[in-house]
Symmetry: D2
Subunit: 351 residues, 4 copies
């Protein structure tokens, strides 16, 4: 099979690096274009990221000597681009690429809540991809934009999906302890986080309170009907390199038994599993029964960073149940989720 050529917009940043790493030897996709800011354009990738390559010891050989371009659609010779741009510039660049006929698989926040842009988690709402047609029509684009959610909202939504389907959900409390890699590089200053907790991440709580509602919504006439539930989020930064931990309490429409609750999570599976997509974890949710799990140091790489690990499921005095979840924020929470979306688009013949 001929691999599909893809580009990475924002290839030199922290999420861009994860795309490069995860797409290395991908069975379906092959990176052929690297886009970054004017400052990097014209330089080899290895040059452009000098001193800032942080996801592993070495840059994949094929990529290292590739030339970095500015993010202009007319200069890109591929069909699909992954968007890892900073939100200060992502909005208009992604639109330019979509207008020019590219499939834009974006990790940026800019278009996530646009009415006609699918915000998709492969296991949760693959049917939202149907909005693409309306999007193209509305915007007179030959291409399109598909987005994935914020890294903290993602595993929360994955665990809420089977609960919503089986029991209905009325209220959710989420308190996160997030890894420093979520802020990119240089990102969080070491003086702010060594021997410290920072109980604030700009814009994060708003995303966690809103994005899941769109992804858990029903598609009717190309519109998403949001479910009748509320989420409250406290977001914190802690001294962890990779892996977001979240304390979740949930009130359901109808309270199941503890065993029913666990089974709903344990047995959850979605289209990416059915379609055996390359990036899909065997099981989207892994349940641990030990009293002190999940932990970033031990569990973040489950399912090659694509599984959500859930533990400490127990009754809650205010809500019905509470539990702790863990997810790799730059794999499942960013680049890996976007690649899974691209695989889904291909498997479902959108590209």
């Amino acid at each position: 099979m001929q691999k599909i050529k893809v580009g990475v917009l924002g290839a030199t940043g922290a999420v861009g690096q994860r795309f490069i790493q995860l797409l290395d030897n991908h069975p379906w996709f092959e990176v052929s274009e690297l886009g970054a800011s004017e400052r990097s354009a014209g330089r080899s990738y290895i040059d452009a990221v000098e001193g800032r390559w942080k996801v592993s010891a070495n840059i994949p050989k094929k990529i290292a000597e590739m030339k970095v371009k500015e993010c202009r659609a007319k200069d890109f010779g591929c069909q699909l681009v992954f968007g890892a741009l900073d939100s200060s510039v992502a909005g208009s660049i992604e639109e330019e690429f979509a207008a020019a006929g590219f499939g834009v698989i974006s990790n940026s926040k800019n278009h996530r809540l646009d009415e006609d842009v699918p915000l998709v988690i492969g296991e949760v709402n693959p049917e939202h991809l149907q909005m693409i047609e309306a999007q193209k029509k509305n915007r007179c684009w030959s291409g399109f934009i598909v987005t994935n959610s914020n890294c903290t909202a993602m595993p929360l939504t994955i665990t809420l999906k089977p609960l919503l389907d089986k029991f209905g959900i009325s209220r959710v409390s989420c308190v996160s302890m997030q890894a420093i890699s979520g802020a990119g590089y240089p990102g969080v200053a070491s003086l702010d986080i060594v021997d410290n907790v920072v109980p604030f991440i700009s814009g994060e709580e708003e995303k966690v309170e809103k994005e899941p509602l769109k992804m858990l919504g029903k598609l009717q006439d190309n519109k998403v009907i949001f479910p009748d539930m509320k989420i409250s989020a406290h977001c914190n930064r802690v001294t962890v390199r990779d892996g977001h931990t979240e304390c979740i309490s949930v009130e359901l429409k109808k309270k199941p038994s503890l065993e029913e609750f666990k089974n709903a999570l344990r047995n959850f599976s979605g289209e990416p599993q059915e379609l055996k997509l390359p990036m899909a974890p065997e099981k989207p949710i892994i349940i641990r029964e030990e009293q002190d799990r999940p932990q970033p140091a031990l569990d973040k790489d489950e399912g090659r960073g694509m599984a959500t690990v859930v533990g400490r499921i127990r009754e809650d005095p205010l809500f019905h149940y509470k539990f702790v979840l863990l997810s790799h924020n730059t794999i499942r929470g960013a680049a890996g989720a976007a690649i899974l979306n691209a695989e889904l688009l291909k498997a479902k013949k959108f590209i």
Copy 2:
């Protein structure tokens, strides 16, 4: 004024060390007896804690050469003892001392929920000290036991007190990010916490869900009437040496305006402040208006470790308001709180 001679039970452990440090040059109390396990007994204090003194560079000179004794009431020549014993032995030793006529000011969990033992925070429920008389009578003791709460429950209760008094409280959610010093020494293994979060602390959530209710209760006929409210707690360990951070959401009986809510916290003051007790912070609660405070690295020493620092007060989509609090877990959350209780007992002539 002649200082009151006091002893420290469990003087070599982590909390015991804080007692030694905080009682150094105390205007009212003077450490004259050091109690520890059989293994330490007969040795000088500096010998007994060799390699385990962790609260500052040096042991106070007066204490270093003092002999450590086993914790037997008959060998102690003081009136008051501070209890910093491990809960595996604290229960019976504290009873022995109380029976023998000592005032026992305990930081251990063993007797906290006993019906006739006051569980007291100076600013919250000083009137519960009246239970001492009944306790002595019930138990035929010439001495008594007074306890302070768990380190995570303490600042939570301090912030809830003015809210309960002004607005009533129905439901409280508390998610903690706790410092490693809370587990004593050697305590948490470094492999468990470097670049990690541990989402479990044995027995902690139960304490946080129960102890505040007793402290916020009303005393009637020497019984505490618990308030009609519920607390849910998730307790986590994070990579911080000192200072517990807690994300609190609270639903009130009657919702005040944001300004009224803040003012209730800001203007809170109690008997320790009125009586100008040596250990009392000028203000029990300090409000920070910056969007990213409180933080352990910056705020844990406010009020010499005795103030609770509150920030990020804002509306909550599920509850009424949410905020973040920070408190020094081995000062306000342990030894400092016990010393404040002793000061209160003296000021109120219980000793």
Copy 3:
């Protein structure tokens, strides 16, 4: 090919866990016996390490349900045992197994400096394995003991070997910054290492100053003739989970050019590479030219944790050259090195 059955002595400890992990799916060896203390004996492995399995998310399935035995030779039905016992008990247990005919591949310090026990790094002194025959004769053993060095001494010796061979060495200064995993579990208390450096590791400097001399020595008449060189070591513990970093300064008998010096390291290769042993890294030493490498976070897994990464090679005002090296302390520095020794023994028909 039939796999060789092997046992792990001290299977439940930190190094023992690494053995289990690295031997999972090993092409030549298959774990069939698990030895540990009396306390663990009789329990399944998963039970015996409960809450202490720290090298990955999950215990290999085949091992989890295997019964743990006490470390008695008569109960072990295999030919080879890997020794990961604490040095307080390793000495006599290893002797018992060797006497009983087992090949004992030990990571413990007890017999490393015994005159007739080979202390071997596959790439450095594989010829020392010839001492085995004399050892068996001396001690009237049907089996034997082979040891690998201390985790800090190991990569130091690997880098010194080509320098010694090409230029001669007179003096070496080594200052280490060692990972917490080197102390096992629970090992280093978090209060000792979070936001701290501990400039002392018991017994470590002595090992680093002596063990390399034995490994770099020449074998004559079954005796090791130590080279005429001196090493000085300062050993420190820092806040890193895995990967020892060492600052090395070296004075040679004859000063080469910087390029010759680098090439000697870069081109180094040994028997494990020639024999293509399964555990052998493609290159024992990897040179990085960036000014700020190697770093544990980026480089510790090179060669699946078996390569030594060297950077910052430059002139030294006192010695001839200085550089920084990094090595994975529980893989190359412990279990991986022992497995490589076993592979070498098999490839060279000692077993």
Copy 4:
């Protein structure tokens, strides 16, 4: 006594903040001018450092509302300025102030090695201040510049001084493990240092190898005659907020006994101690006999951050003796040292 009005150049940066903090309630000096970049000029100090005040919970009240100015000599109404500017701009600004008649007490590197600029540690070479007269003449300045050394070179030089005086020194090896605060704010990215070591700090090794030689030199005819000794430095960044740890090996001209060596360090004292300067620690060097000290977490605040703590003094197989030292890098290693220099200038009537 009327306090001397002083200014701080670079008042908003990390070192500038330490100056503000340490000068709060100083008995001789009073901050009356705050200089910073154009961007901050015209704003109140509290505004200008918003979100970047990192040395304590609160900005001193008197300073918070003070207006920040650009660093122009003509706008400053004080006699003395402390220099905490980034080296990219410090050179010419300091010259402008010195030319205009100010005493400039600088912590920047720019003029440290100028032939006619004193590089002074109060306890080591106070007599170098005599160069000021020649400097003023040479440069036709009515003011002058006095500098203090790099934060790593400083405690090294303090410990070398008594050794040089008593025994002579031929060679010194220094390997540092430096705190993140040394790089200012935002400084070191958290992804570079959490669970990591960075074995490189730009320009640092050159400073450590040179600056001590100037400070340990003899003044002859207003020129510094450098001592005949060599220093080799490896500089590393580790996961510590404050406090540089250094492993030192030293070869003397004449080898003393271990006890003589220790006593030379222990009994060292200088002019700041004789003159009882406010910032001077009671003892410049504190010796610890425990096998695992000094440690940043325990020892960095000795002498209010102005003492150098030395431990693990022992024989060295290559050099004569080796030891570990610890020093607070932003107090003794920066702002505190500069303030001590200013105190010395006043006590010796240079100002």
